[in-house]
Symmetry: C2
Subunit: 255 residues, 2 copies
DNA sequence: CGGCAAGTTGAGCCAGGTCAACTCCGGTGG
DNA sequence: CCACCGGAGTTGACCTGGCTCAACTTGCCG
């Protein structure tokens, strides 16, 4: 955990992005925030300790992936949420006991924002406030959507939804339907409430059905978007369906 | 949808509760908000229409239960989230397409807050802002916790968690472990991602194991809190366990 | 190029979904 | 007041998606 060098914020994603929180701050706000905040880098597998969380409960992610994990008594583990660059995690007043543990899933750079300054900025800078509020709302609706996925969908359907979630959240909006999967198979399985074996089998099935193509372990390309969408939406009749016309399918416009 | 009579707000839960949003507003704020907001009563089963949602995207619940429902292509239905009195649902910029439909699960009184006034209050009144922010955070963590429940827990465990969720959220904190279940069996099943039959079987099992007692269809009493908690936490060895001392169990302090 | 973790494949099995029959209960109308 | 009705909930019997376990392959890092 180190002080944040003056030039660091310039390259940080939280600042750089037009929608980024720090991008909304004026010179004095940003220097005040920087002086009292800390930056740190987490290796895959390291948890944000509960003591640190008391001092530094507000965590903005500038790169990498952080997961919210819940552990059951008998060792079953669940990744309940994924936080990506730009997300601001507000753990004020939360103990890991109640809410799960924050664990990095890859090399992750975070900015530990000073809660007092954060609070002050939220109160005085309406633009920054709006960004933070909308980020929190997104987290809420994402979690709710994810609940819906977990509740009734089958394995293949969950995986299809997840692919769209990746596409929706990924920074670089490329046109050729290439998707970067930011987590490993095991993590993916824990996030979707299934077994790594099942994840593997589902990827295989989609590949065999020419719906996706596995470029490498963490990059896929969607070959047949409408069918993938139908699967994600829980349509059971995607198998014996002859594709006449892409646009013929009526499809929910997620993504 | 009607204008809000002057005296109505005095009895409203959103105001009355010390932590309530409207309770933080001064006289002019509250009258401004009231004048431009609308109150309405929803019968069980009615949805908040998408057109209304455009005009009135901010919904505060004063009584009853509202669910966020997702519908799959083949008719499978999921209740992804439950909103209870005091919750403020901010649907600005969301279409039901993306986020699911808001459907009342009982006779529900809501206050359709004027988005402009809401926004203005959020920007100028730090106390009200804090209430709204914390409410939204709670929604987020609730949804994340719920995801964790759905992902890896078994039916009995999910139901146990749900009972604690009810306890945590219920207004009247009674001491004798009486829990009011605010939704019907079918809804409960949809919320927990299981079948009504399974819900029924699980309640039966808990009752037979003397962990809970079913007072009537919507009221239960927890007879053995530690065991219920162990089940909710995913402990598999609750069956052949002889209770020597309540406090002997090491238990996570949810609830 | 060895060693280990991550991922994949196959075979068998079980929790819970499915379907059907039944009971319970609140509302309604004669 | 009671007979009727329909929806909600329950119970039982059966069946299947995906979990489990074990063996294998792949890929990464020193």
């Amino acid at each position: 955990m180190t002080k944040i060098p003056t030039n660091k914020c310039q390259h940080c994603f939280i600042n750089a992005d037009a929608g980024g929180f720090c991008g909304q701050l004026d010179g004095s706000e940003i220097s005040e925030l920087r002086n009292l905040s800390r930056s740190s880098t987490l290796k895959r597998g390291t948890a944000v300790g509960s003591e640190e969380l008391l001092m530094w409960p507000i965590i903005a992610i500038s790169s990498g992936v952080i997961s919210m994990q819940h552990l059951l008594e008998d060792g079953r583990k669940t990744i309940a949420a994924l936080f990506l660059p730009g997300d601001i995690i507000d753990m004020r007043g939360m103990s890991p006991r109640h809410s799960g543990h924050l664990i990095a899933l890859s090399r992750t750079e975070v900015c530990r924002m000073s809660p007092t300054i954060f609070e002050k900025i939220i109160e005085t800078n309406p633009n920054a406030q709006r960004i933070a509020w909308n980020n929190l709302r997104k987290q809420t609706y994402r979690a709710i959507d994810h609940s819906a996925d977990l509740a009734k969908k089958q394995a293949l359907e969950k995986l299809a939804s997840f692919i769209f979630e990746c596409r929706r959240r990924q920074r670089s909006k490329v046109s050729d339907n290439s998707i970067h999967v930011p987590v490993r198979r095991v993590d993916l399985a824990e996030y979707l409430g299934m077994q790594p074996e099942t994840v593997s089998r589902c990827f295989r099935e989609m590949e065999q059905r020419k719906i996706i193509q596995l470029m490498d372990i963490s990059n896929i390309k969607i070959l047949n978007v409408p069918t993938l969408r139908r699967i994600a939406n829980g349509d059971k009749n995607t198998k014996n369906l002859r594709r006449t016309n892409k646009d013929h399918f009526k499809v929910l416009s997620y993504g």
